[in-house]
């Protein structure tokens, strides 16, 4: 237990020491999205009846910021450790692969929540955002961050160079988040794109998370949570397999 807690502490200390960049910066950039998109689209789009666009947009942006930062935390920590070689200190230690998995995922979740709370905190200062069910909000926040934290471990282990990780981020994570319905409800899409969106696990995270605020969603939150949980389990299984076999880290 001490080993796991130490690795968790190290991971938290790592991003906290550069908190300006890892927590404050994403809060600012998310608020920029909110300001610009609401300015441009406020009068043109109404996602749910009676919900102003800015208010509709806010929870999606909170979730997007959480997901992106959860991914960034584990993936960048691992790639930095790999490239600079200090991953050896973890590999030499008796930490089990489940210890390593849990510590990295939990640190990612905590970074995700810290950024999410930051964005949310500033947003509610300016806009009146309803909260229908904190439990749904929390469930999707935790599950979504954990999913991305685990995906970040896979990306961090797989990538051998920073540009490979950037490719993973730009060609997998970014399209999946942007096309998940953060900025629109997928009901506004043509049938084909709607169908495609249903294959995107990020869509269910955003949709379920938003349900917690508006009690309105494109699909049932139970279905969303089930799909997100299944996606998390699948990715975790793969991550644990990679860690256990030493894929790309124990040669």
């Amino acid at each position: 237990m001490t080993g796991f807690l130490t690795l968790l502490y190290k991971e938290l200390l790592r991003f906290w020491k550069v908190g300006f960049q890892t927590v404050f910066a994403p809060v600012v950039s998310t608020l920029l999205y909110l300001m610009i998109f609401s300015h441009v689209l406020e009068d043109h789009v109404q996602a749910y009846p009676g919900v102003p666009y800015t208010v509709f947009l806010a929870p999606g942006l909170v979730m997007m910021a959480m997901l992106q930062n959860a991914f960034a935390n584990s993936s960048s920590s691992l790639i930095q450790s790999k490239v600079s070689g200090n991953l050896v200190f973890i590999l030499l230690s008796p930490l089990s692969y489940t210890d390593i998995f849990l510590a990295y995922v939990l640190a990612s979740v905590i970074r995700g929540l810290a950024v999410g709370l930051g964005v949310y905190g500033v947003t509610v200062a300016f806009f009146d955002i309803p909260v229908h069910s904190p439990l749904w909000i929390l469930a999707f926040a935790l599950m979504g961050s954990a999913f991305l934290g685990s995906l970040g471990i896979i990306a961090g282990i797989w990538a051998e160079k920073f540009d490979q990780l950037a490719a993973f981020q730009n060609f997998v994570i970014l399209p999946l988040t942007f096309l998940s319905g953060v900025f629109y409800t997928i009901k506004s899409l043509p049938a084909f794109w709607q169908g495609l969106s249903h294959l995107n696990p990020f869509f269910y995270m955003i949709d379920g998370f938003r349900y917690g605020f508006f009690k309105a969603s494109d699909v049932s939150p139970f279905l969303s949570l089930g799909i997100v949980a299944a996606a998390f389990l699948a990715v975790s299984w793969l991550t644990l397999r990679m860690l256990r076999s030493g894929y790309k880290i124990r040669h």
């Binding site: 130490t6 690795l7 070689g85």
Partner: protein, 309 residues
């Protein structure tokens, strides 16, 4: 149980390159042991497999009786490894680095011992400095400290003195000798054969992934029969009968290669007959470096008994 590290039929390939070709090796508890060999001989690969940083294709390794694959947690608890590369985590200070490393081994409240190693390795002034700001030698000391946070009975050092200044090198060896005196088993790789000769009780020489020699320094140097004689003569001319023995002539000294000590008498007789006066004379023992060069340049030793079977 008297064996600290037990290596059995260890094989490892990287693609088509054979890194280890069936190594068998027992390192006893309390030994000061060196792995020698040219670059690419497989020393680091062997150490990495012992440490769990690399996985063998076949064969087994036990550290203090624990298999490094099936009992990896126990095996790693008994092992402290100083890696060859100067790696560090730029986010932390020296003390944070050591506290975190200690925590990985499940140790709480280890501050007393951490302070002791900080002090022993002369890191007191730098304890709260960020790792980034440390010089290469200081980073090397932190690496040694990190390997010791959990008081491992077996300590492995991969080229600990490569690129290290004389003062640190001596300080480091003094500290490691002290650890060995306290009962720790020490395994190191080095390119400095004089260091190995001065410190180690036994050495293994690796060549192309095989052990080509494994013995005490004394036995190894004894295998080279004969000796070298350095002579300063007046007049500075080597008598004709001694010419076939001549090995070298530098700084006004003649070096003669003798097959055994008995030959010394003939040399002196030849000098007397030629009325040559001996101004200075020194008999040189073969050292580890000579043994090393001889073994590395012999081809018969390529296949060790284990693989020849």
């Amino acid at each position: 149980m008297t064996i600290a590290i037990e290596v059995r039929q260890l094989r490892k390939h990287f693609g088509s390159v054979r890194a280890l070709g069936g190594i068998d090796l027992d390192i006893r508890k309390g030994e000061f042991f060196a792995l020698l060999g040219p670059n690419g001989a497989g020393k680091t690969t062997l150490i990495n497999i012992i440490a769990g940083l690399a996985l063998a294709d076949s064969g087994s390794v036990r550290v203090m009786g624990y298999d490094v694959r099936s009992d990896y947690r126990e095996a790693r608890r008994t092992l402290g490894v100083v890696p060859q590369e100067l790696v560090f985590d730029p986010f932390f200070t020296v003390r944070e680095t050591l506290t975190i490393q200690s925590g990985y081994y499940g140790l709480k409240n280890n501050a007393g011992w951490i302070e002791e190693i900080i002090h022993n390795l002369d890191l007191d002034d730098k304890a709260d400095a960020n790792m980034r700001s440390l010089s290469g030698g200081m980073k090397r000391r932190v690496l040694v400290a990190q390997a010791l946070v959990h008081k491992p009975p077996v300590i492995v050092l991969d080229e600990p003195t490569a690129g290290v200044d004389v003062e640190l090198r001596q300080g480091l060896w003094r500290f490691i000798k002290q650890l060995n005196g306290n009962g720790h088993t020490i395994v190191l790789t080095t390119h400095y054969l004089d260091e190995a000769e001065a410190l180690c009780s036994r050495v293994a020489m690796l060549k192309q992934g095989n052990i080509v020699a494994l013995d005490s320094i004394k036995n190894l140097t004894n295998t080279l029969s004969g000796c070298m004689v350095r002579l300063r003569l007046t007049p500075d001319i080597l008598p004709a009968p001694l010419q076939p023995l001549a090995d070298n002539h530098e700084d006004g000294c003649h070096f003669l290669a003798l097959e055994d000590y008995a030959q010394l008498e003939n040399v002196l007789a030849a000098l007397r007959a030629a009325r040559t006066q001996v101004v200075e004379m020194q008999v040189l023992q073969p050292d580890l470096e000579e043994v090393f060069m001889k073994i590395m340049n012999t081809n018969q030793a390529l296949e060790p008994p284990a693989t020849a079977r």
